[in-house]
Symmetry: C2
Subunit: 171 residues, 2 copies
DNA sequence: CTGATACGGAACCAATCGGTCTATAATTAC
DNA sequence: GTAATTATAGACCGATTGGTTCCGTATCAG
């Protein structure tokens, strides 16, 4: 084919994600995004088509770079295998970031207005709940309390979301 | 003095609060706000001075109309006196609203960008934490576990915030 | 009745919003 | 080398943003 893209898609996505994370979907204007990404309007619209599509791509990027490793840790994969479920869960609530969590911020914000984004965010949160369930089940014998685990995971997800949201007010 | 205000400040605040609640600070434009409030630009700026000041006034209105009664309930005042602390706490997690909680939405959103709003939101959340503490202490003997109550109240606040945020993705 | 006040309504403002378009440059296949 | 293809930069678009200013008028105290 013809002329290849001159910018690093992943690096641009990383920069856009950071801005959406800090300022939210509506708070991050096109001009700010382009500035942070170091590209021009034409390139953005050629690559992603719209601000909303870019945002959805950022949610994917966020999943890949931050959520997935976190979920693997919770499930006890890799070096986390040496830790108990409770220890892995405790580690999650050590992670402080004044920006909170992109998924949680989006849930409280734009997800209440846009159905596509709401659906995408819900998916992400469901994945986190699943990993919480895995970590909880790891410390409990047999299938004795499958329902209890699901219920506790739901509460844990709620606490996690609140935990991350709370950090945005503490600066 | 002279000519009195022709519109009901409280009713206008109620309408503005509803819009901010549903769409967030940045999602609610002046045109939408004025339309919902049934007043004109001039009146809004004469009465509140700016969009941000209006928003802060809406947070106060929200406190007065919804938070305060909720806190009184948690503290066991009025007809809630017949309920145990645990029963009062359980009732709080029954309240479903697809708009979530204005305080929590603001924490996850605009509070991360504006310091004045962040401060105001933090205050509101601290008040909720205090009421959780009161409800928890009500079920526990003496001052045996004051620190434990504070810690549990913090976790309860986190779960509450996540609980309300979550509802914005479930529509 | 009169003068002071400040209201409601609308015109108006610069700046920004998300998005499109075109001219140019770079790269490929042939 | 040439033609086809695609990305780039940036000018440009109408609409909307939050905010100001003005005017005619209603309402007050004296």
């Amino acid at each position: 084919m013809a002329r290849p893209r001159a910018f690093d898609t992943d690096a641009a996505l990383e920069a856009a994600t950071a801005l959406f994370w800090e300022r939210g979907y509506e708070g991050a204007g096109l001009a700010d995004l382009l500035d942070a990404m170091g590209i021009q309007r034409g390139s953005l619209y050629k690559a992603w088509g719209s601000k909303k599509a870019l945002f959805l791509a950022c949610l994917d990027h966020y999943d890949r770079r931050l959520v997935d490793p976190g979920l693997a840790f919770l499930r006890g994969e890799g070096e986390a295998a040496a830790l108990s479920g409770a220890e892995r869960l405790a580690a999650v609530f050590e992670n402080h970031d004044p920006r909170g969590c992109l998924l949680c911020n989006s849930a409280a914000g734009i997800a209440g207005v846009d159905d596509d984004i709401a659906h995408r965010v819900k998916e992400g949160l469901d994945r986190i709940r699943g990993a919480f369930e895995a970590a909880l089940a790891d410390d409990r014998p047999g299938a004795e309390s499958a329902a209890g685990v699901a219920e506790d995971a739901e509460r844990l997800l709620q606490r996690y979301m609140g935990f991350r949201v709370q950090q945005r007010t503490e600066r």
